[in-house]
């Protein structure tokens, strides 16, 4: 036993998969201890906030200011406000004015503004230019002037008695606050989802739930598969015929169909995460049964089993002592595969709208379902669906790596 485990941990593939899985488990366990937020708490008013650091504006006005004279501050400010369309419009005017197109560099904000300032003349009107367009250019020029001003912004507070605005302070363009001194800063590494929940917290909680679903479903499927496989393989005869008949039936009837039918029959209200796990477990035992049965049949007439029989040992004793140890590796491998396929099954069900009920816990499938319903993928909100796919792929990748590693340890023919 000890030797086998040492052998297993020498397989690089198994070790990589194992470390990945342990790392994910640790994150699931440790993250809520550090950040004890409720995963389904709605914090954002609005959908799909971009990932980033959110600093409270009110607090930063009140915070202590520092003056930093940075050369490129103004340039960045303008660059961030001057959109693609405005740049193209400026180019259009300048080209009509007679400046050769190759001299205008749309990326170089400073030069573009300089060209504009030196040449723009609101009175000019080119051939084919509508007056609406002319007015638009005048407006654009005015907003650019606004941008270029160096004066600060006045903060005023309404006086309760006189109802007049009173200036409290002026914020200069060179004023900075230290983010550590702003009391309310919220980091949203993955932004928020369509309901306005913190994606990262939700994702980690969902990973935890999905792993639990996988574990429960895998355990159920493996126990059923192991029991049926042992009974069918060892006892044989008509028991074997009946069990194999059922197994073959459920092999050809797609498990997704069964899952859909059963989940719908149970109904949304009764469908908790555990119920879904149990349903998945009860529909995915066939492969384990087949594998275990095949192994048991090849073991049934080995000498040590015959010896055990002759010594008068009972059937349960023979199965536990003489057969189980030989198929243990297969069972472990089947169990690992069951976990990852159960996680995928949950995700598929949830995308079809038949996942666990949505009010209690998030799961990876439910998050995927929400992202799809609110068309995050079409609107380019990558943070709402891509991390979920990556996590699902990582879980199943780590499990499959462990499985391949085990396979190579126990089947030397497959080694590279």
């Amino acid at each position: 036993m000890k030797h086998t485990i040492r052998e297993v941990f020498r397989s690089p593939k198994f070790v990589v998969g194992f470390i990945l899985l342990i790392a994910m488990l640790l994150i699931v366990i440790l993250y809520p201890l550090i950040i004890p937020d409720e995963p389904l708490e709605i914090i954002a008013l609005g959908t799909f906030f971009e990932p980033g650091i959110y600093v409270n504006v009110f607090d930063s006005i009140g915070a202590r200011t520092y003056t930093l004279n940075l050369n490129d501050a103004q340039e960045r400010r303008i660059a961030s406000r001057l959109g693609e369309q405005e740049r193209l419009d400026m180019q259009e005017w300048l080209v009509s004015y007679g400046i050769p197109e190759e001299e205008i560099d749309l990326e170089d904000t400073e030069k573009l503004l300089e060209l504009w300032e030196n040449n723009y003349d609101p009175t000019l009107r080119f051939q084919g230019m509508t007056s609406a367009k002319k007015k638009y250019f005048a407006r654009l020029d005015a907003s650019l002037e606004n941008l270029l001003s160096t004066e600060g912004v006045i903060i005023a507070v309404e006086n309760v008695e006189t109802n007049e605005l009173e200036q409290t302070r002026v914020i200069n363009q060179s004023d900075f606050v230290n983010i550590n001194q702003v009391p309310n800063v919220r980091v949203l590494p993955l932004g928020t989802d369509n309901f306005g929940r913190d994606m990262l917290t939700e994702l980690i909680s969902a990973l935890g739930t999905s792993l639990q679903i996988g574990f429960v479903a895998g355990l159920i499927a493996t126990m059923i598969g192991l029991t049926l496989g042992l009974v069918a393989g060892y006892i044989g005869g008509w028991v074997d015929d009946i069990i194999m008949f059922i197994t073959n039936l459920f092999t050809v009837i797609p498990s997704l169909v069964l899952l859909v039918l059963i989940s719908y029959s149970i109904g949304q209200e009764q469908r908790g995460a555990v119920t879904v796990a149990i349903v998945i477990g009860f529909t995915s035992w066939v492969w384990t049964t087949r594998a275990v049965r095949a192994q048991v049949i090849s073991l049934r007439h080995r000498d040590h089993v015959n010896l055990s029989k002759l010594s008068g040992h009972s059937i349960p004793h023979i199965i536990v002592a003489d057969i189980l140890p030989y198929i243990a590796s297969y069972v472990v491998m089947a169990f690992i595969l069951q976990i990852s396929s159960a996680i995928l099954a949950e995700a598929s069900l949830s995308i079809l709208g038949l996942g666990p009920k949505t009010t209690e816990v998030p799961t990876l499938g439910l998050m995927m379902n929400w992202a799809m319903i609110y068309s995050a993928h079409i609107m380019g909100k990558w943070w709402a669906y891509f991390p979920v796919i990556v996590v699902i792929a990582l879980v199943s990748f780590s499990m499959n790596l462990m499985n391949t590693g085990l396979d190579q340890v126990f089947n030397p023919a497959l080694r590279d």
Partner: protein
């Protein structure tokens, strides 16, 4: 010839038995719900309905469809008769459209999408897997990790990734539907072209997923066969490599064909979910609308049709398998 006949008739009997079992499951599962199934389904269907007479109507409809007043055996007869007449009742979410009509309009999309995609994916996957086993070195080093990665992605994950890259970012293909939303199905060139363009992303997402899994399976099969004694012996005899390879791959191929028969149900299941991502007008999307619309007759009919599709495909593959591999016939009919 007699062996073949025995093999085929054996398979046919098995096919018929699974067919009956599929009908039974479809019949029994909703009836196994605790309490009065008709009341529960009615309650689920009429969520948000306020008119009491409407609720009563729905209840009576279901009571009639299920025939719950009759003994269970008669109910099954009624059910089977309805199925064979193609009478699945009326849809609730798209009332008064018959369920059979909804299925008729979506099944062809699914058939035309999934089976070609699975077959193409299977062929490419097996070729690549065999090449990886034979060429080893560089090719294998690239193909294997790629296949492992791809086969670990769920089908819907691959669908979303393709959709975002080729549909949204590059804008080469439309992101949803089976044809342009501004078109009415007809036989014009524009419509056919629109269908072809909409077909690409769902098709390739299913193909790529199938390639990954098949390549891995074929590679280990082929490696196993390449190390078999008969290969060493024939090399020893001086038979040309090219000749031996054909034996090797034929032998490695057979378990893959059998594997396809066993796994086609899972593959179809995955592809149905991928359809949902692309809002492809097939059976997958129909399940979604049925679930969303609490449309019990539609769900029951769609799941039955999918089961029949998969059973049929499995039966055909097994028949082909018997023709390709004469050994299976003798082994099973002894």
């Amino acid at each position: 010839m007699k062996g073949y006949l025995k093999y085929f008739s054996g398979k046919l009997v098995w096919f018929l038995i699974t067919l009956v079992a599929a009908f039974l499951l479809n019949f029994i599962l909703p009836r196994m719900m605790p309490g009065d199934p008709v009341a529960i389904i009615t309650q689920r269907t009429v969520q948000g309905m306020t008119s009491q007479s409407g609720v009563q109507k729905v209840y009576e409809y279901y009571a009639e469809v299920f025939g719950t007043n009759e003994p269970i055996f008669t109910q099954f007869i009624i059910y089977i008769r309805n199925v064979f007449q193609g009478n699945f009742g009326l849809s609730f979410s798209q009332y008064p459209r018959p369920v059979a009509d909804i299925i008729r309009s979506s099944i062809w999309w699914t058939l035309a999408l999934q089976f070609p995609a699975i077959i193409v994916g299977w062929l490419i996957g097996n070729t690549l897997g065999a090449l990886a086993a034979y060429l080893k070195k560089g090719f294998d080093k690239v193909l294997m990790p790629a296949s492992i990665f791809v086969s670990n992605l769920p089908a819907f994950g691959m669908a979303v990734i393709l959709l975002v890259i080729f549909g949204v970012q590059l804008g080469w293909f439309p992101t949803s539907g089976g044809y342009g939303y501004d078109m009415i199905p007809n036989l014009s060139w524009d419509f056919v072209w629109s269908v072809i363009v909409h077909y690409q992303l769902p098709f390739w997402s299913i193909v790529i997923i199938a390639i990954g899994g098949q390549a891995i399976g074929m590679r280990s099969m082929a490696i196993y066969e390449l190390n078999a004694d008969y290969v060493k012996y024939s090399r020893f005899l001086g038979i040309k490599d090219r000749k031996t390879i054909t034996y090797v791959f034929r032998n490695a191929m057979l378990p893959q064909v059998a594997g396809l028969a066993l796994s086609i149900g899972t593959m179809v299941g995955g592809a149905l979910v991928a359809e949902v991502i692309f809002s492809y007008p097939g059976l997958g999307s129909t399940i979604l609308t049925a679930v969303m619309g609490q449309d019990y007759p539609l769900i029951s009919a769609v799941t039955l049709i999918i089961t029949l599709m998969v059973l049929g495909a499995t039966f055909i593959i097994e028949i082909l398998y018997g023709i390709i591999d004469p050994r299976i016939k003798t082994a099973q009919t002894e």
